[in-house]
Structure formats: structure tokens, C-alpha cells
């Protein structure tokens, strides 16, 4: 098994297990250093980032909004965590020479053609629906899926089941049974 930094691919079980260790270390370190346990999560950052943008356009609107009041617009642990994901993936893909410029993914192309504008519109609306759903459910596959299930939370288990049910049904309807 090749775990060198320049290897393009690590075994998914092993990479996953290392994420498990990272998640536990994150909680231990943040508890000891900043006295707040930080469990991995990503979707709240999209709320804060939107709030930061909206603040520029209409600060009153943001300060009056109940959800922005509850979430508190700030550059916090999680926002830097999400920035870090970009950096880490950038580094890993360059070291392993596995970065690939892609405007239309193959499964999408087989179903909807190679038009990058069509793909951009699809990605945008998919993104809109999924983040709305994630905030309604209270988390995404990081917050509910990883962190919730690690803690054996009922909410995490329920959310993961319905993420998968929705995804599997929709993917079969959209891309067809074979995906080709």
C-alpha cells in the first residue's frame, strides 16, 4: 500500500480511518486549547459566507434576519476549516499529479451532453437545493454524516439515511439505471 505524498491515490479505507483519527484529534485539541469542542462540519460556513456578502449590499437586512442572528456572521473555526479543505485538496492533487481540469463530468455528459453552460446551470440549481436541504436538516454529510454518526446521534443517523435515499432515488431517475 502506497501512502507516499506523491502517490495519486490512497486506499479509501485507510484515508477514511485517518479522517476518523483527525476528527477525534480535532475535538480533543479544540477542547484543550479553545475550550470549545469543534466537530467537523461544512454547511454552516455557506450561511456565514452568504451573510458576509449580503452585509456589503444591505447590512440592515442581515442584522434583522433571524437566521443570521442565530448563526452569527463571522470568520470562525469552520470557515477556516473549509478554506483549508481547498488548500489541502490543492496540495494533494498537485503532489500526486492527479489534478484534472474538468468542465463537464463524464456521467453528466452521457445524459445531458458536453455543453458546459448546461452543466453550470445544473450544478448551480443542484447546489441551491442541496444547501437549502442541508440547513433544514441541520447539517450536511460532514456535520450529520461524519460528526453526528461518530457520536451515535439519532439526528445524524436519520439524516444520513435520508441523504442516501434522496440521492439514490434522484440519481436513478436523472441518470438512468446504468448511468450511461
Amino acid at each position: 500500500m502506497n501512502l507516499s505524498l506523491s502517490s495519486p491515490k490512497w486506499n479509501p479505507y485507510l484515508a477514511g480511518a485517518l479522517v476518523g483519527i483527525l476528527a477525534v484529534l480535532s475535538v480533543v485539541v479544540t477542547t484543550l486549547v479553545i475550550d470549545k469542542p469543534k466537530y467537523l462540519g461544512a454547511s454552516t460556513t455557506f450561511v456565514r459566507a452568504t451573510g458576509l456578502v449580503e452585509q456589503v449590499v444591505s447590512p440592515e437586512h442581515v442584522s434583522e434576519n433571524a437566521y443570521f442572528q442565530k448563526t452569527k456572521i463571522k470568520i470562525d473555526w469552520q470557515m477556516m476549516f473549509v478554506v483549508g479543505i481547498f488548500g489541502g485538496a490543492f496540495l494533494a492533487s498537485r503532489l500526486g499529479r492527479s489534478a484534472k481540469l474538468e468542465t463537464v463530468p463524464p456521467i453528466w455528459e452521457q445524459r445531458f451532453g458536453a455543453n458546459p453552460v448546461k452543466r453550470a446551470v445544473g450544478a448551480f440549481f443542484g447546489g441551491t437545493i442541496l444547501l437549502f436541504g442541508a440547513r433544514l436538516a441541520g447539517g450536511c454529510p460532514s456535520g450529520h454524516g461524519l460528526s453526528g454518526n461518530m457520536q451515535l446521534a439519532m439526528s445524524g443517523l436519520l439524516a444520513l439515511v435520508f441523504f442516501m435515499v434522496g440521492g439514490i432515488l434522484a440519481a436513478h431517475l436523472i441518470y438512468g439505471k446504468g448511468g450511461k
Binding site: G20, A23, F90
Partner: protein, 174 residues
């Protein structure tokens, strides 16, 4: 300090996501089409290792848990909506950012859509608070609490089920 720790944790997480190949549209939609279990292998390995670590650290009083509320109606409907959007976008919030970093330019539009989805949700939140979020809210619950068992009696069967699934995936070449 909080931000520095967040950044380092994210760098490591993004690195592992990329090396595990779970950032790709093909892997995510491949799972949803039940043809490629890479993301499940990755996620379940993380969860199984994580649950042992979290409950071990919790048992010795080192850390506290942070459980999200069990809003059944909101989780079921929000979960299904998430799944539909996930199938179209091909990324979840965490992986979209990493996918962009490894050159999947179209992930940019998924991220822009996610920001729009967050803005939309912020507008309808007061309505959700009075409806879906209030319906069937059982509060912060864990599976061991519901079953009235020690967490280890839940963790050990989960590990056995996980190892069984992993063996099956490898036998089927998924």
C-alpha cells in the same frame, strides 16, 4: 487561535479527501447509482474509527459531545431535498470546495448555488421555525440513550456490520 486550528484541520481533511478520491463527481454519483462504494468505504471507516475515539475520550471525561436536535420532519424533508440536489450537483458542501481545488471547474457553480441556497434558507427560516422545525422535535438524543444501552454495545455491533459490508464490497468489486 481558533482560526489557525480550523485551517490546519481543514488542510489535513482536504488532503485526505483528495487522496481517497472522494472529491470526484464520478465517485459521488457512482455511489448514488450503486456502482461504486468508494465514498461509503471512506465515510464508514472514518465513522467507525471516530466513534471508538470519541466515546473513549468521552468516557475518561476529556471531551463533551455536541449532539444536534432530532427534528424528525425537518431532517426527513431536508435530507431528501439534500439528496436530490446532491445527485444533480454531484458534490456535497465539503467536497465541492476540494473538487474545485483539484481542477473540477464546474464545482464553482455548485458552490455559487450553495451560497444562493443558504441565502434562500435564511429568508424562510422564521417560517420553518414555526412549522417543520417544530414538528416532531425529540431534542438531542443518541442511539445508546434511546436503546438504554452502554455506547459500547452499539459501537461493537456497528463495527461488525461495517466489516461485513467492507468484505462484501470487496467480493463484489464495488
Amino acid at each position: 487561535m481558533e482560526q489557525v486550528i480550523g485551517l490546519i484541520t481543514g488542510l489535513l481533511f482536504g488532503f485526505l479527501l483528495q487522496k481517497g478520491e472522494v472529491l470526484r463527481f464520478e465517485r459521488q454519483v457512482g455511489f448514488m447509482l450503486l456502482k461504486d462504494m468508494t465514498i461509503i468505504k471512506f465515510m464508514m471507516s472514518a465513522v467507525l474509527v471516530g466513534m471508538v475515539g470519541i466515546y473513549a475520550c468521552h468516557a475518561i471525561g476529556l471531551i463533551s459531545l455536541s449532539i444536534k436536535a432530532t427534528n424528525v420532519a425537518a431532517i426527513v424533508l431536508g435530507g431528501l431535498l439534500f439528496g436530490i440536489g446532491w445527485a444533480i450537483a454531484g458534490y456535497c458542501p465539503g467536497t465541492s470546495v476540494g473538487a474545485l481545488a483539484e481542477g473540477r471547474i464546474h464545482a464553482f457553480w455548485a458552490i455559487a448555488g450553495m451560497l444562493a441556497g443558504a441565502a434562500l434558507y435564511a429568508e424562510v427560516y422564521p417560517f420553518m421555525q414555526q412549522t417543520l422545525l417544530a414538528w416532531g422535535n425529540f431534542g438531542k438524543l443518541t442511539l445508546p440513550e434511546v436503546l438504554g444501552l452502554s455506547p459500547w454495545f452499539v459501537i461493537i455491533p456497528f463495527i461488525m456490520i461495517g466489516l461485513g459490508l467492507f468484505t462484501w464490497f470487496e467480493k463484489k468489486g464495488l
